[in-house]
Amino acid sequence: MSILDVVGNTPLLALEKIGADLPGVRLLAKAEFYNPSGSVKDRAARAMLLSGRKNGLLTNEKTIIDATSGNTGIAYAMMGAALGCGVTLYMPGNASVERKNIILSYGARIVETEPLESSDGAYLAAKKAYESDPERYFYPDQYNNAVNVQAHYEGTGVEIWEQSAGAVTHFITGMGTSGTFTGVSRRLKDYNGSIQTVAVQPDSPLHGIEGTKHMASTIRPGIYDEGVADAVVRVSTEDAYAMTRRLAREEGLLVGISSGANVHAALSLARTLSGGAVVVTVLCDTGTRYLSDSFWREKA
């Protein structure tokens, strides 16, 4: 068994304290920080790399290259080490020191891109590097690779259905590549067409909800399927920070900011529902890679 074999099958946790005032509505969260590199991105990274292995595009001589705001990069770095492949990652220069250090510790290489251009700058730079020497690289292109969506269709979506014993009525989560949202939504709707799927968006093009893309102002991922969203809700970075602190202090869940955004949105949605509803969201990553951020030091 290798580290790639322990990706997925994460617990579905009940947020009993945060959801305590919901009459008859259950609030559940898929604890994706249980994945071996600490985030939901292990699923897509594993699927894309194994797909590359299977179709012969990823050989040991090739270097894995892609753009990332951090979590996919950490997943590639871990798996690249396990598979014996080099890894080069393009990421915005304002990514956290913790993320960069984790990636470097796995032996991967980082190319920092212009902070002002955010993840779009990293995406364009990675694409250009790949196109300049395609023989040298394996480019999973997480924003446009259907295998990313498939990993969630075949994995996360099935797990949520089974772990909730088919009781899930609503699924709500934010979008980076949109792989989790699109794949899980499609699977749940295949199981039960009445399940409502809701996408979470930052309330501003300038935001601090890492890994989350403001679709209206950024390069739209090719795998994004707008049609699967029954609704779109907006969350401020400040509300995401506040819920991230609550998750740590009330539920004992040290998770990242996008998890806080998801749970804030899930709680707001749950408050509009009546008894019997089961709202499922995603705790995308561990909070340990955000400890240098000052929002932890606020009281409320």
Partner: protein, 95 residues
């Protein structure tokens, strides 16, 4: 004091699709205020309801985050460039 504001791509649509603009101000706060006055649609993205800079917005003068100096009261010199960057990944260190 003429200082340059380096605008993140996410906000350029609110600033005539410019990558940078020059404003007047003797502190980082006054320069950013002047920027928001010049492009009023940008204000809500930078400041909260109490007119404080939103907590995830980092302002760099060169490689220095003003949060590590005197915040919005950090003095600026003629010709300085102020870069507005979201703390997208919790980054607080030098960029």
């Amino acid at each position: 004091m003429a200082v340059t504001i380096l605008i993140p791509t996410a906000l350029r649509v609110f600033a005539g699709v410019q990558a940078e603009v020059t404003v007047e101000g003797d502190t980082a706060g006054r320069a950013i205020e002047a920027f928001a006055d010049k492009f009023p649609d940008i204000r809500q993205h930078l400041f909260d309801e109490n007119n404080a800079l939103r907590s995830f917005v980092n302002v760099y003068i060169g490689e220095k985050n003003i949060k590590t100096v005197n915040g919005l009261d950090t003095p600026v010199r003629d010709g300085d460039a102020l870069m507005l960057v979201p703390a997208i990944a919790g980054g607080t260190g030098a960029i």
